[in-house]
């Protein structure tokens, strides 16, 4: 791949997904693009890039962007945030939302579904929530992973990294060598294709946002912008949960870490000047 080709790809990816590539990743880019090259009948990556530059290459651009994504995910990834969701966040929300009896959760980079399904399994274990309306909205930029998520079928390997055996027994059925999540849990999650770089207000307001292991691939400015826009979709007493290697500290002042709860953040109270803006104005802005 020539440096020009690589730069072209970097720009495309950054524009489309926010993903930032560095030069050490060149081999990875080639690995991931070769299947696309073959699938669309090109001979080389150079030829693929020529096609990407042609007008009306939008479908191809989507395909290339998706091929470059890192989609790795696990059930109950890192355990701790999910324990906190079960032990702190949900009990608190059950108190605070007892009138409305509705809670909205968002998995903002849901990949193949392990994260929102982990949340759904936890919600299902709260008998007190049986007659509440719990919306679990799961979004990702990539249609390919969302298709897998919607099917809810996982390999033996995938169901053994983080999923307690009791949960496997309770919520999965065996289909040959694979495991399918029960209809009950599957129906608790709504999957939608959505790009974090675009208007988030269409998704509505949430009480809890899991935005894990995606901001880490963005550059500073994109992270800050995404955090600010996520903030606008989060209830003032809601929670943001980031990945184990991510933080808002030193990056954005719209969230503050929750003391002693690693990975948990709360929105900072809005300054008075903003609170004075006409109702309905906030949250409607398109980035």
């Amino acid at each position: 791949m020539t440096p020009f080709d690589f730069d072209f790809l970097c720009k495309l990816l950054k524009e489309r997904s926010g993903l930032v590539l560095t030069h050490e990743k060149e081999y990875l880019v080639e690995n991931r693009l070769m299947p696309v090259v073959r699938r669309v009948g090109c001979a080389t990556i150079a030829e693929l890039i020529q096609r990407l530059k042609a007008p009306a290459a939008d479908a191809l651009k989507v395909e290339v962007t998706e091929a470059m994504m890192i989609n790795e995910s696990f059930f109950f990834r890192d355990k701790n945030p999910f324990d906190q969701f079960r032990d702190t966040i949900l009990p608190e929300l059950i108190e605070k939302r007892s009138k409305r009896r509705r809670i909205r959760l968002w998995s903002a980079a849901a990949s193949s579904g392990q994260e929102p399904y982990s949340l759904a399994m936890m919600v299902a274990s709260f008998s007190r929530l049986a007659d509440w309306q719990i919306d679990i909205v799961a979004t990702d930029i990539s249609n390919e992973v969302l298709e897998k998520a919607r099917a809810g079928i996982y390999s033996q390997f995938e169901v053994q990294r983080g999923l307690p055996i009791q949960m496997l027994m309770q919520h999965f059925e065996q289909v040959g060598e694979q495991w399918r999540i029960s209809d009950k849990v599957r129906k608790m999650v709504q999957f939608r294709q959505h790009n974090l770089l675009t208007d988030l207000s269409v998704l509505g307001m949430f009480d809890v946002v899991f935005c894990r292991n995606v901001l880490i691939y963005f550059d500073q400015a994109t992270k800050v912008d995404a955090l600010e826009r996520i903030r606008r979709q989060l209830a003032p007493d809601g929670y943001l949960i980031l990945g184990a290697a991510e933080t808002v500290v030193g990056l954005s002042d719209v969230f503050a870490p929750v003391p002693d709860k690693r990975g948990l953040y709360r929105p900072k109270p809005k300054p008075l000047a903003v609170a004075a803006v006409k109702p309905g104005a906030a949250g409607a802005r398109v980035a």
Binding site: K79, Q156, Q160, R161, P164, M169
Partner: protein, 121 residues
């Protein structure tokens, strides 16, 4: 140092498991069937047990039932590790007192996840 008893009739599996668990800081004892394993437990009850199902002399299921009814046998965390990869076997094992269940083939990440799950790591 926590002790882990690895029970498997395959020396290859025992070796692989030993390497992984030593990496997590366990002192390892090995047994190649349930009878040997019970003897080992009578002498010195480990904190953790990695248990195969199909073995000659006494299989993993029988071992588990015998273990859970002996004095102090309720203490160790028992993680099954077997090619019996179906829900019926899993349910039987859990009912007999297993704490977690690994379906072979396994790797370091799976062992780590399962041992974390039962509080051994």
């Amino acid at each position: 140092m926590k002790r882990c008893l690895i029970i498997d009739d395959s020396s290859v599996i025992r070796k692989v498991a030993r390497r992984i668990l030593e990496g997590f800081g366990f002192a390892i004892v090995e047994a190649s069937d349930g009878r040997q394993a019970l003897d080992a437990c009578r002498k010195d009850m480990p904190e953790a047990i990695l248990l195969d199902w199909n073995m000659p002399v006494m299989d993993g299921y029988e071992f588990l039932r015998a273990l859970r009814s002996m004095p102090g046998g309720d203490k160790p965390k028992v993680v099954f590790c077997t090619t019996e990869n179906d829900l019926a076997h899993i349910a039987r094992a859990m009912h007999a007192g297993a704490d977690e269940y690994i379906m072979k083939p396994f790797d370091k990440e799976i062992v780590q996840a399962k041992f974390q799950e039962v509080g051994l790591l």
